[in-house]
Subunit: 311 residues, 2 copies
């Protein structure tokens, strides 16, 4: 699946992933009003509103971007109807040819991790049939439980042509509390990075489009570019998913460290910087009712910012 992600990135010339993390405050009044009129001011109504919001964003940007990253927490807060909106969003994006990275940060042990892997990347066998439960292309995975929590995901990646991004060094201010602690003189995130490299070598994508990259990527925050540089060396065959650009303070010039010399190796996420662009002064002229055009303009600006930084 990393091969498909890379070929989408080459086609669009944009190592960008749009985070579909809708909050009700991002959704224009007209969409909320229509959804509430139909479903009431309920979990159903709110979930329908965020789905319709996503639909417009995706339709307005799909030709420019290789991938999307729906953050499942933003859907879970609307209960079962919210989870249905997540599933519909995954389906919509896959139908548009986008690679879907489910930002689910799952992680458990043994049969439980296997169930998560089946839920998000594999299939669930029922009788003589197999069903896709959520069917993302990639999922984010939390490594705290160690290799036997990750192995069931690797198995599904190998069997099903899917991939994962493992949390290594997250973008938040307190990520260092545990991740930066020194173990034998080296920060814990480097040890996790070494494991990512090791896991990846057991799950290579053999397609020519993969250009030697593995199905096991890493999450490393744009807010920590020096650590990114070191991790880039430790995990040469892993794609790095880089959150924290824009709203969290990461800038274009900080991103160079996350890429390999082949110009590949990283994909930069922006969530509210794109989907809530209409609320920024810079894009305010589009107005609430043209929020999707504001999102498109923000994608174009981000693409330029990154291209200039890498030039």
């Amino acid at each position: 699946m990393i091969g498909k992600l890379i070929s989408n990135i080459r086609r669009t010339n944009a190592p960008i992933v749009v985070g579909l993390d809708p909050m009700m405050g991002f959704v224009p009044e007209s969409i909320k009003k229509a959804a509430f009129a139909e479903y009431g001011e309920t979990l159903e109504g709110a979930a329908e509103a965020i789905y319709r919001f996503n639909e417009k964003i995706v339709n307005a940007t799909a030709d420019l971007i290789p991938a999307v990253k729906p953050q499942i927490a933003m859907y879970e807060q609307f209960g079962v109807p919210g989870v249905l909106a997540f599933k519909k969003t995954v389906d919509l994006c896959k139908a548009k040819g986008l690679v879907v990275i489910g930002d689910v940060k799952r992680g458990d042990i043994g049969s439980t991790s296997a169930a998560y892997a089946a839920a998000h990347l594999g299939t669930t066998a029922i009788g003589s049939s197999a069903f896709e439960a959520f069917g993302e292309d990639f999922a984010t995975v939390n490594p705290y439980l160690g290799s036997d929590g990750v192995e069931p995901f690797l198995k599904v990646c190998r069997e099903n042509n899917r991939g994962i991004f493992v949390l290594v060094k997250t973008s938040n201010p307190s990520s260092g509390e545990f991740q930066d602690r020194l173990v034998d003189g080296r920060p814990l995130y480097e040890l996790v990075g070494e494991k990512v490299d090791e896991w990846g070598r057991t799950a290579m994508d053999p397609s020519p489009e993969a250009e030697g990259y593995s199905e096991v990527g890493a999450v490393v925050g744009a807010t920590y570019p020096e650590m990114g540089k070191k991790l880039r060396e430790i995990m040469p065959k892993s794609y790095i998913l880089v959150p924290g650009y824009g709203a969290q303070g990461g800038k274009g010039k900080d991103l160079v460290n996350f890429f390999n010399k082949d110009g590949l190796g990283a994909i930069v996420n922006s969530s509210r910087g794109i989907i809530a662009a209409w609320k920024q002064e810079k894009y305010a002229a589009y107005g609430e009712e043209h929020f999707e055009e504001a999102a498109r303009a923000a994608v174009i600006d981000m693409q330029k910012d990154i291209a200039e930084a890498l030039a």
Copy 2:
């Protein structure tokens, strides 16, 4: 909420939580057949079968136990219908007066962690109303992202009388890969334990039933009793949720270390040891069609085993 858990434990004299982690292989043919006849051999049919299975287990054991712990991965693998079965299971158990520990192992940062906290422990505001999305009493939380990933959960715990169990030392064989690494000469899990204690002191349950315990508990595997002893000292005000008893090899006598001198401070989980008891030789006489009676017998045996170990 820890007060309610403790008063349920005192009433039943059973520091036991039943893990509702149904797998299709645990569900008797008659239940599957009926659900498939109604909903087809589909995700809906499977989800309905596991819900009906849960219903019988819960009805047969609710008077003996203080709490249940549904593992959401086992429901997510059945997609949206599975998540609905999870929600129905939570509702059923709460109606029975059981404390519900959502084993969701969520953890993210900032507004995303806030969304998870709202989803599982709080409410989601829509218009002028607030809705419970899933409405568990406790949730398990992964600490890898540090304090600003946990703080949104603490806020909801304080405001909403809810609790969390933070992963500290998990029961699986490779849990030591990162958790045991030495930081300044001490294993990482001890540092996480110290944070649990610190977080807990900001989220005490003021009810008399809480007997001085906090809303922030810890997950420590029964498979590591020596580590449990040390963690018991580090986090005196935290309840310890102990997985790994039974199927994973933890024994009654190993459990003493996880309890405080007041006889409180730990709750021991068993999942397949209870819900799939009918598949064990010991309870085989109940037969597939009386699986819920086998579960009841297994709860009674577990209660005795723990009471003897603590005596």
